[in-house]
Every structure is written in C-alpha cells, then in structure tokens.
C-alpha cells in the first residue's frame, strides 16, 4: 500500500518542474497590485469606500460565473464546499453565466449608485441566506439593473447623474491625468465637468478619443521605472508634462520598445526582461485581462493553448484591435 501512496507523492514531486517562472509571476502580481490600488482610490473617490482590495479586483477582473458561498480574499476557517452553498432558486437571485447581460462591474456600480452600502449587503445576505457579501452586492445590483426592488432600504443617498458618470469614468480605467488630457482636447478647464461628460459618454456606450492611461502606467512602473526616470525622460524628450511622459513611456514598454534610459527601480532587471520577451503577453496583462479571460477567449477562438491565446490577444491589443470580451 505504501508503494502506491509513495507513487502518488513521487508523481507530485515529478511535476514540480512545471512551476511557472517566479520573476514573471512577481512582475504580474506587482502590476495587478498597482491596478488594485488605483481602483480602490477610484472607488473611494466615487463613494464606494467600503470596497476591499479583493472585491475591487474581483469586480473589475473576474467574470461572474455562478453564485459562490465563500470569499477567498480573507483566510478563514470557512471554505466554499463544492456545491454545498448553492442557494435555492426561490430565495436568491439568479447568477448564472448567461443569466445577465451586465458585467459584475456594472452590477456593483448600480448597487452603490443607488445608495446601498456594505451594511445593506449584510442584511441582504442574511435574508438570502448567503455568506459572500461581495456576491450579494453583485446579485443585488443585477436586480436593480433589471428594474426590481430590493427588500431593504438603502442606507445612503443615491448618486446624482454626475456622480454616476464620474464613477463610470474611473472604473473604466481612466484617471485624473486622462481627464486633464481630455479637457485640453475639448477646451474644457473644469476637470470635474470633463470627467462627468466623459463618464456619460461611456455609460451611453460611446468611445473616448484616448485610451485609459492606467495600463500604460502599470507597464511603466512594472518595468521598474520611477518618477525620477520620467523627469529624466521629460528632459530628453523636451517635455514638461511628467504624467504624460509616464503614460507615453508605458505605451512604449507595452509595445516592446526600449526606452532611452534604464529603469532605476529595484525590481527592474529581471522584471523588464520577462516582459520584453513577449510584448503581447505584457500588453495582455497590462490591459487588465487575466487567465479566466484567456480561457473564455480560447473557447471563442477554438484554441486550447491558453498561453498562446494570451499572447495572440496581447498582439491584437498592440495592433489597436479590440478583443471580443472586456477585461
């Protein structure tokens, strides 16, 4: 018997070599962490201050496939047992992959925009016999989007139209610097108004004339470049707008181009090496896409090699094309 069990142990150990490259993983983790922080700031700026890092990440990055009874962001003794927490259909809203035409981000936006908060979600979770507050908020947001009412009264005040627009602006990955750029293009000096106008366009499905600088900045910092590097680059390029210099430099990094100075950040050498090895892959992750998205794209493209899917998707992004799914 022990021989058979040893065979199992040996099989595990024999496949340790499949472990991914640590430098690549760390680089991407750093980029994702920066994106989390940016989204947290954006969420706070628009009144959704109760969002946690994991929730922001989940809300923006992950597709919502099914109801889940437990959160994996906090380490607790409670684990989501396979199928054990599936609610009854009558007690809870549907949350199947194909049940909603909305993204989880849209559902959360609607939830907070209507004045509901964390405490409301706790009350709803109790009513619906759920434990995952994050998913309760998304499910409640879906109901609101579908015109239903919730069985609790919102603790907060619903957002105004301008606040909703600003929320849409930030959650799409744009930031203050982007608003300044748009204000220059639109000859509008009131940056708050620019954000509201831009957000309104996004809500109505219109495209903005610039891409969000978030992914470019993520790539810039992930490559090990710093603010001081941007100042140096600004001098080389005869530019005084340091924010724009960082965004432009980040775009060059994503495109696999070499900047005229080496990064001065501590993580620069190994990190930049792996991203420059496959610019498509770097662009894919910098744009906010993840493994689950690659799996979805693989199904759409009938491609089973997920690594290849990510690379090809990144190449499309670099070529200015739009992917069939949002990050």
């Amino acid at each position: 018997m022990n021989d058979r069990i040893d065979e199992l142990t040996e099989t595990f150990e024999a496949h340790e070599f499949l472990a991914p490259d640590a430098a690549t993983v760390l680089e991407r983790a750093n980029a994702i962490a920066r994106a989390y922080c940016r989204r947290r700031r954006a969420a706070r700026a628009t009144g959704a201050s109760v969002l946690g890092a994991g929730l922001v990440a989940g809300a923006v990055t992950f597709p919502r496939w099914e109801w889940h009874p437990g959160s994996n962001d906090e380490v607790t003794a409670v684990q989501p047992a396979s199928g054990g927490g599936t609610p009854s259909a009558s007690a809870t809203p549907s949350a199947s992959p194909t049940a909603s035409a909305y993204t989880e981000q849209q559902e959360l936006n609607e939830y907070f925009a209507d004045g509901y908060d964390y405490d409301n979600a706790v009350a709803l979770a109790s009513l619906w016999k759920q434990t995952d507050i994050a998913q309760v908020k998304a499910a409640a947001g879906l109901k609101l989007l579908e015109g239903a009412t919730l069985p609790v009264t919102p603790n907060g005040t619903p957002m105004t139209a301008a606040e909703r627009a600003q929320n849409a602006f930030f959650t799409a990955g744009y930031d203050y610097d982007d608003a300044v750029t748009l204000g220059t293009m639109w000859h509008e000096t009131d940056i708050g108004q620019v954000k509201a106008d831009a957000g309104q366009k996004l809500i109505t499905g219109q495209a903005l004339p610039i891409r969000p600088s978030g992914p470019a900045l993520d790539a810039y910092f992930a490559a090990g470049y710093t603010y001081n590097d941007a100042v140096t680059l600004g001098k080389l390029w005869n530019r005084t707008d340091i924010a724009q210099v960082k965004a432009d430099a980040g775009q060059k990094v994503i495109a696999g181009q070499t900047l005229p100075i080496p990064p001065s950040g501590p993580t620069a050498p190994s990190d930049s090496a792996s991203s420059s090895a496959d610019p498509g892959l770097a662009a894919y992750f910098a744009a906010g896409y993840n493994y689950d998205d690659a799996v979805t794209l693989g199904k759409l493209w009938h491609e089973t090699d997920i690594g290849q899917v990510k690379s090809e998707a990144g190449q499309k992004l670099l070529a200015g094309q739009t992917l069939p799914i949002a990050p």
């Binding site: 018997m1 760390l26 983790a29 962001d73 396979s82």
Partner: protein, 195 residues
Amino acid sequence: MQRPRKNSGSGVTPIAALARLGGVTFAEFAATRLAQLLRYAVVLTGDRELAQDVVQDVLARAQVRWRKIASADSPDAYVRQMVLNEYLSWRRRWAVRNVRAVGERVLELSDGRGGSRDHADAMADADDLWSRLATLPPKQRAVLVLRYYEQLDDDEIAALLGCARGTVRSNASKALKTLRLQSERQHITVAGDIS
C-alpha cells in the same frame, strides 16, 4: 518512511521557519518563498497556467494587505492558505472544470492504449497518474496534495479546508478510489485476509 514537509524548508521545523518570517517585508517573502509557493501551486492545480494565475492574483492581494499578513502568526501559512482558497474558489471553478476536461481527454487517450502500462517506466507511470489526478474534483485533489505532498495530517487538513476530519478522510478515500490506488489496496487487503 515519513517524508519531510514541503512548507518547512530543509532541516527546519515548520514553527521555526514560520517564526523566522515574522516581520518580513513582502519583497523578502517573495524572494525566499515564491519558488516554493509556485511548486505548491502547480502541484495543487495540476496546470502551469492556472498555477501562475492563482499565485499572481494571490500575491497581488497579499501585497496590498501585506501589513496585515505580516502581523499574522505565520505569513507563509497565510499566503499558502490564500492559494488554496483561490484554487477552490468559485472564481476558479469554471476554469478548473475546463482544465479537468482537458485532463479527461488525456486520460481517455491513455486508456486507449489497452491498459498495457509499462511498470518499468517510472516517468510514464507518473505522467499517467498525473493525468488521472486531473480528473479529480478540486477538493479531492487538494486533500491528496495536502496529505501526500505537503505531508499534513488529517486534522491539519481539516483545519485548512474548514471541514471535519471525517470529510477529509472521505474525500481522500474517494480520490484514491478514482485513481485506482485504493481499490488495489483493498484488493490486496482482502486477498491477504483470505490467505
């Protein structure tokens, strides 16, 4: 023979190793623990891409809340639990199912060889068993990894998974049966009893 635990480092007890991690920065943690964490993740998930995605997402969240994690009794155990939770989480179920479907196809191909397994070829055996492992539900696979790779006892596994010890044993039993390891053991036991 009792094998050393994977998460303790060579020649260092788990408690000592974890105590040494007290007050470490995220960068120090990544520098000293990431490679081991990735090996754990790839064994846990059975898929290189999925392991990478799980660990990078976990590290990103860990980085954001590192102050809290660093103040935990064992940051290493905390992060490993995050990896385990992420693997078992709802977000991953669809992806895991997809990966498992691929594993099932591999298994079908190996079964198509007519059952003539070459026991002299240890690597082929390991690959075959690796393919069979891919057909297990995530929780059953996790139990086997924690028991036979991490060398944890059932009480420790139960604490990690937030379930009863009996549930751990039940999952392990089902998994071994699926892998055709336990059925053979039972067969040997029965044959021994008869003789």
